[in-house]
């Protein structure tokens, strides 16, 4: 009868400063030469990508908050009126095309919903991938609803709507340099739009990556991070819209 007994005393390294804490291996399952058994640890890579996204969102936030603080201060800043030689408030509230902007907000919210659905869809696909590789196993539908493509469409529709809002502002006489308030409106919406366009480019990359047959776990990481980025862009837009409307 086989008995198992440990003849090697387990030694836990406990010396040095900082206690004897240890980190799990950073890469690979098993072995200590990188990939180990040859299967990359996608769970860890996902966490790393999400960490990278969180770090990326901090400077984006700082960028927008600095413009918002400039907006708030400028709104209350009196300027010299050269004709009367007195200080007056020269903040002209911009006549925003509210209905159009609300529609755009709805489009972006819908885009957030579809992005989340795409994220969950590919998470399920990634979780089921090992099962799918078992010969003889079928999991039914191989391709679900193209939530990713719909998100790209909704995002593009949002940007088109923003462009239309700019045209309407111009029709109402508010150009970039018309007043301080109009400058901020164009600046904030343009900056947000550029960041959103970046997100669309990454989504298109995710779509093409899928065509290049990268493993679904790798695609999942891209879609996951982009979906979270999309949610951040939506919340950011709500904040910008609220600022421009309620503090117009």
């Amino acid at each position: 009868m086989a008995t198992y007994s440990s003849t090697v005393p387990v030694q836990v390294p406990k010396t040095g400063q900082g206690g004897g804490g240890s980190q799990p291996p950073a890469y690979g399952g098993g072995g200590d030469s990188g990939r180990g058994d040859g299967y990359p640890d996608y769970g860890h890579r996902l966490r790393r990508a999400r960490l990278g996204l969180a770090v990326l969102l901090a400077p984006i936030f700082m960028f927008f908050i600095s413009i918002v603080s400039a907006y708030v201060v400028r709104q209350g800043l009196p300027t010299l009126d050269e004709r009367t030689n007195t200080y007056v408030r020269d903040w002209i509230p911009v006549q925003l095309p509210l209905a159009l902007l609300l529609v755009n907000t709805g489009l972006l919210a819908a885009g957030s919903v579809t992005a989340e659905l795409a994220r969950r869809q590919i998470t399920r696909q990634a979780a089921l991938a090992p099962v799918r590789s078992i010969p003889g196993v079928s999991l039914g539908q191989e391709s679900g609803f193209p939530w990713l493509a719909v998100t790209v469409l909704l995002g593009s529709a949002f940007l088109t709507g923003q462009w239309m809002a700019w045209k309407e502002l111009a029709n109402r006489g508010f150009y970039l340099a018309t007043s301080a308030s109009s400058s901020f409106v164009y600046l904030l919406t343009a900056a947000h739009g550029i960041h959103l366009a970046g997100g669309i480019v990454v989504l298109l990359y995710a779509a093409t990556v899928s065509l290049l047959h990268k493993p679904v776990e790798a695609r999942r990481i891209v879609v996951d991070v982009t979906a979270w980025y999309w949610h951040f862009m939506f919340v950011l837009w709500v904040g910008i819209f609220a600022l421009l409307w309620f503090m117009r």
Partner: protein, 576 residues
């Protein structure tokens, strides 16, 4: 790009992939160092022209010709911009940090190697864009590295303020993007790629410094980017963020209602963390080297870590001390002044801990150690004039005088540079497999130390005697005549000190090819980079992942067989 496996790229083949568009953090680190080396010699040449002009204003110089007042302003603008951005923010962090952060934490590369490569080449594009300003119509901008509006926001405010200033702002905006990419990499790598056993409180202080510096950069450069974009809009699109109603040469400009103070707030909100970005890596290197060469653990490791964090945190709430003369409320000035004085506390903690590390130690006076000790000396000298300037009342006579110039040059222009010299001589054996020449290193260290003290110490006196900064000529100003001999002395010292830098350059370049071969651990240091081959292989550790058992400063441990215990040494040592 986001989901790169850190070591997924095999060793590259071909010259382009190996040396130009390399994804290897070691190559990228060396690229940053050579970029900074180029930038520092350009910047030094500009400062030489400035110093020569100050005492011989009518001289016609070879290659440059006569330096007119506006040319002087262009020189100082580009000198400041090149030095602050392309030397002090690239070499300590992007150069040494890129090379050694992954190795010191036991990782095979940075978290996002493609992003790393992009961050270097974006910095390069920013550098080329900036240098292009010299060659366009009108030349380089003349609004100072601080770029105050409305001078910088109007295209007709002076020579160089058209295309040259646009190139300047564009270069800085591109640099912001590059720095943010780099910061992202550093933070993610430090948090996520540490080897087994490498807890946060076992990190070398160099890694802590790079980590906190990256956080500072992450939060500050976004604000500079927004400031730059607003400036570009004011200059080219007719907006009035920074420009009030102004008249230039009798012509009413189309701007109205803007605030020059907005630029100052946005710029200095970035600008103050920026100077801590410039100095913190040098502090990390100093801590590392003082401990290694004194064969003694760093005094108060935990205090050092918390001090770095405190300096980083406090650095965000003191920007107003650059604006005491802007007409701000005295209550705001009071608040900023108090916070600025508070920053002196963690800085002093670090300084006393450095001294405590040296106390009763057996110092090995090799060249890296000499630079590290020089760093402490210069940090104290430059830092002590800070609390002077932190008093609004004292800032009234001292603002925009040579006193300020002496203060920030001693700290940034010399102490931080000594941090780079120290890092270079210390890590040279690991990077290039050879040793730098010890004798010439000592000569260079001594000449530079004495020379820079001769240049910048007298500036405190000059400032108190009311010599203004950024003035192109004062040889004909009556109340400044008695300061001319001292200015001449400074210029001669500058000429000699700049000449001495060629000793370092020649030592560096010669030793890269002809220096004596180095062993894997010539300094008998404990951190992870000294456990691997020289130079390190492509994945840093030759196929195996290190496991860490000790902290980074296990020197002269009682009961240990040697006077140092490597971090990866599994031997148990009695608790001490």
């Amino acid at each position: 790009m986001v989901a790169q496996d850190a070591h997924a790229h095999a060793a590259p083949q071909g010259f382009i992939r190996k040396y130009i568009f390399s994804l290897d953090h070691k190559v990228i680190g060396i690229q940053y160092i050579f970029l900074a080396l180029t930038a520092v010699f350009v910047g030094m040449f500009l400062s030489l022209l400035m110093r020569v002009h100050m005492i011989w204003p009518t001289a016609v110089l070879p290659l440059v010709g006569e330096i007119k007042p506006e040319t002087y302003l262009q020189l100082l603008t580009m000198h400041g911009t090149i030095m602050v951005f392309f030397v002090l923010t690239t070499a300590p962090q992007g150069g040494f940090g890129n090379y050694f952060l992954p190795i010191q934490i036991g990782a095979p590369d940075m978290a996002f190697p493609v992003l790393n490569m992009l961050s270097f080449w974006t910095t390069f594009v920013a550098f080329v864009t900036l240098l292009a300003a010299f060659f366009v119509t009108g030349g380089a901008p003349l609004h100072g590295w601080t770029g105050y509006a409305p001078l910088s926001a109007l295209t007709n405010s002076g020579p160089g303020e058209q295309l040259g200033a646009d190139l300047w702002v564009t270069s800085i905006a591109i640099f912001c993007i590059a720095s943010l990419m780099g910061a992202l990499n550093f933070i993610t790598t430090t948090l996520d790629l540490r080897a087994k056993g490498m807890t946060m409180m076992r990190l070398p202080l160099t890694v802590w410094a790079w980590f906190i510096t990256a956080i500072l950069g992450l939060l500050a450069f976004g604000v500079l980017l927004s400031a730059g974009i607003l400036l570009l809009m004011d200059r080219n699109l007719g907006t009035s963020f920074y420009v009030p109603l102004v008249v230039v040469n009798g012509q009413v400009m189309g701007h109205k209602g803007g605030s020059p103070l907005l630029w100052q707030h946005l710029f200095w909100f970035f600008g103050h963390p920026e100077v801590y970005i410039a100095i913190l890596p040098g502090m990390g290197v100093a801590s590392q080297l003082l401990s290694t060469f004194a064969r003694k653990p760093i005094f108060g490791y935990k205090a050092m870590v918390y001090a770095i964090m405190a300096i980083g945190l406090l650095g965000f709430v003191v920007w107003g001390h650059h604006m005491f003369m802007s007409g701000m409320s005295p209550y705001s000035a009071f608040a900023f002044s108090i916070m600025t004085m508070c920053i002196g506390v963690p800085s002093a903690i670090k300084t006393f801990n450095w001294l405590g590390t040296l106390y009763k130690s057996k110092i090995r006076f090799q060249t890296p150690m000499l630079y590290a000790i020089g760093f402490v000396s210069l940090f104290v000298s430059g830092g002590l004039s800070g609390p002077f300037l932190a008093q609004p009342v004292l800032d009234i006579p001292l603002h925009d005088t040579a006193f300020v110039v002496g203060h920030f040059h001693l700290i940034m222009g010399v102490a931080a540079i000594f941090g780079m010299f120290a890092g270079m001589t210390y890590w040279f054996p690991k990077m290039f497999g050879r040793m730098m020449n010890e004798t010439w290193g000592r000569i260079h260290c001594l000449l530079t130390l004495i020379g820079t003290y001769c240049i910048f110490m007298p500036m405190h006196y000059l400032g108190m005697a009311a010599q203004p900064r950024r003035y192109s000529q004062f040889t004909e100003v009556a109340y400044l005549q008695h300061l001319l001999p001292l200015n001449r002395f400074i210029t001669y010292a500058a000429i000699l000190t700049i000449s001495a830098q060629f000793i370092f350059l020649i030592n560096l370049l010669w030793s890269m090819f002809k220096g004596p071969k180095a062993s894997d651990n010539p300094w008998e240091a404990t951190t992870l980079e000294w456990t691997t081959a020289t130079p390190p292989p492509h994945d840093n550790f030759g196929g195996h992942t290190p496991v860490v058992y000790h902290g980074p400063y296990e020197y002269s441990v009682p009961g240990a067989p040697k006077d140092y215990v490597m971090q990866t040494d599994p031997a148990q040592v009695a608790a001490h």
